[in-house]
Amino acid sequence: MKNFMNVEILVGDKKIHSITNQPYNKNILNFLDDLSKNLMKLKEIENYPDISAVAFFCRKANLMNQKKIFFKNKEFRIGLGLIFHIAPSNVPVNFLYSLVFGLITGNSNIVKVPSFKFAQIEIICNIINKLLKKKHKNLKKFIKVLRYEKENINFTNFISSECDARLIWGGDKSINEIRKFSVKPRSIDLTFADRYSICIINAGKFLKLNHIKKITLLNQFYNDTFTLDQNACSSPHLILWMGNKVKKAKDVFWSHLAKISKKKYQFIESSVVEKYTQVCKRLMQNDNIKNYKFFDNTLSTLAVKKLNKDILSYRGRWGYFFEYDLKSLSDIKDISSKKIQTVTYYGINSQLIKNTILKLSLPGFDRIVPIGQALELDFIWDGYDINKTLTRIIDVK
C-alpha cells in the first residue's frame, strides 16, 4: 500500500483493521502476562528500570485488579474500534503503556513510536513479535507498531481519517500539529499534554519520622524526580512546605536527599553545565528568588519569594527544585491552573487537599498521590478514566 511509504513496521502488517474485542478477555490478559514474564526474564533488564516498571504494570495480578474495577458497573462495554497512539518522543517505554490501554479495552491499535531508535523499543517489539508468531496469533490484528518521521504527514493524515480515537502524547505544539489532521465525526482525541506537578510536605510530620522512615520517604521522592531527570510531567518541580519547624525540616530533607542523589544519580558534564546555566539565569534575571542553595552538583534549590502563575514555567532538571513555605493550604490558589497535574504529598490528608481545591473551585489538579507514586502511570490519567473513555456502552434494556 502506498500509504505505508517511508513507514517502518516494527510489529504487524500493512492491513488496517478496526475490530473490537471484549475488554479484559482472557486472551489479552494472558498475552500481557506473557509479555511481562518475557520482559522480566531478559538479561538486560537490570540496565532498563523503565522496562521493568512497564513489565510490572503488564502482569496479570495488576490487570486483574483493573478488571474488577472495570466490571463493577453492570453496563455492557466494548472497545471503540481502531486506536491511533502517538507516543512521546522522549520516554522510550511510554508507547507500551499506551498500547496496553488500547488493547485491554478491546481495541485494535496502531502505535507510532518515536523516530529515535531507542533500544527499549527494539527489545519490547522483539518480544511482542515472538509472542504474536506462536502462542498469541489471534491477537495479531490488534497490534501494529510503526516508526516514521514527523514530516511524513500523509500517514498521520491517513490513519487519523480511519481511526476511532487518538491518544496523543507530547508537548502542546506537537499536539496541535497532530490535531490539524481531522478525524471521523464520531472519533475522539485524548491528549496528554505538557503538565506541571507539585509536592506538598508537612514539615512537622516529616521531622517526627524516625531515621529509616525519613530515608525511605526521601528515596521515594528521589524516584519521583531524578529517575527521569525531572522531565516527566508528573515529577514535582515546586515543593511546598507547611506546618511547624519548616526551616529545620527543609535542612534535613535537602541535605539527606543530597546524600542520596550524590550516591545514586548518574549525570554527565553537558547536563551539569546546562543546569548551572539555568540556575544562573534564574538568579540573575528573576526577582522572585529569595535564596539559592547548592548542596552538590546533583542538587540545587531555589526558594521563591511569592507564589504566582509565572512559577509554572519554572522547571528544574537534573536535581534542581523550587520551594516555598505555605501559610495555609489555600495559598495553592495562587498557582492553580489547568496545567497542574499531580500533587504528591506527605503528612497531609489527601481529602483535605481535594476539599481545598473544591472549596476554592481551582482549575487543574488531576492527581493527588503520596510521595513515591508520581511516575506510576495508571488507568486514570490526566483526568481521564481510560477504561471508560476507550470503550462504549451497548445499552440493553
Binding site: G170, T277, M284
Partner: protein, 350 residues
Amino acid sequence: MITNFKNSSPYNEMSKKQDKFFCKNLKQLTKHHFTNSQEYKKFLIQNNYNLKNTNLEKFPFLPSNIFKEIDLKSIKKDKVFKIMTSSGTSGKNLSKIFLDRKNAQNQIIVLSKLIETILGEKRLPMLIIDQNPKSASNIFSARIAAINGFSIFGTDYTFILNSKGKVDHTKLKSFLKKYSGKPFFIFGFTSLVYRCFFELLKNDNYNLDGGVLLHGGGWKKLEKKKINNFKFKKLLIEKFNFKEIYNYYGMVEQTGSIFLECKYCFHFVTSSYSKVLIRDKNFNILKNGEKGLLQLFSLLPTSYPGHNILTEDIGEIPKFNNCVCSKKGTRFKVYGRAVKSELKGCSDTI
C-alpha cells in the same frame, strides 16, 4: 585592574608573583562587574561570594551559555560600541557580547601581542581560505568576526574561495607568484582548510613555502574523517611545504586572549592574560592528566562579565610538562564539546 596592556609581555616567565598579580587583577575585575552589572551583583549575592577572595579556584564562574540567555553588560547603554554574536553549534540562540571602545581596543592590543609571537611585528601578505565576506551572504557572523579580527595582521588580502566554496586557482597562483618563498600569513577555519583547500587541491602542486598557517574553530567536522591535529599538520606540511602551522583555541566570550598552540608540543598555552582550570562534574578541580570541563579566565573583559567562564568543552592539563620551549604558561588539550544528554521525560512527541 590592568589599564595598560600595551606594555605587557604575552608570555611572561610564570612565577608565584605572576600568579598573585593575575589573581589581584581578577579580584578587581570581579568587583568591577559586581558594581556595574545588576545581574552579576545578584548572582554574587545569592552565592554569598566574598569579594575579598584572591584564590583562583574560588572566583565565581559563569557558564558560557549564559550570554545566550541574558544580555549581560557592565557599561551603560550609550557606551556600547559593538555587539559581537556567535551562533555556536548547540542552539539557535546567539551569544551576545557587549563591547565598549576600551574593551574592543584592549582585545586588539592583546591579540596583536600574541600573534606577533608567531608572525613577527610586521604585517604580512594574507591569504584567507574563505569567501570574501563582502560578497558572500551565507557565512555566519563568527566567521566574519574572526576573519576581520585576524586581518589586522595582514596586507594584500586574498580570499581564495569563490562563491561556490571552490578554490580560485587564478587568485592563488597570482598570490604565490608574488609571495612564495617570502614570509606570508594564511588564515582559515580548520574544517574549511582541510575540506576546501587540502582535499580539493590533492591533484595540484602548489608550494606555500614561507607561509604560516593559523587555523581554529574545532575538529568536530573532521572527526569523521579521522583527522586530528597531528595528522592535519603532517598532511598539510608534506603537501604544501608550509613554514609553520598553528592551531588556536578561543571563544567569542573572551576574544583577544586566545590560546595559541606551542609549536613543539602542540598543546595550547595560556598567556599572561589568561588562565585555565579543569573541573569535574561536581565542579571540583581535577588533577593534571584528568579530563574535565574547561574553565577559562581572561583579564580582558571589562564591558561584560566574561572574565571567568565555565565552557561546555572537555579539556585536560597534561600530567607532565616536558616541552623544550621557554613558554611557562599552563599547557592544555581540548577534546571538543561535552556529549549531550539523551532526553528523558515526556515533554514532546516525535
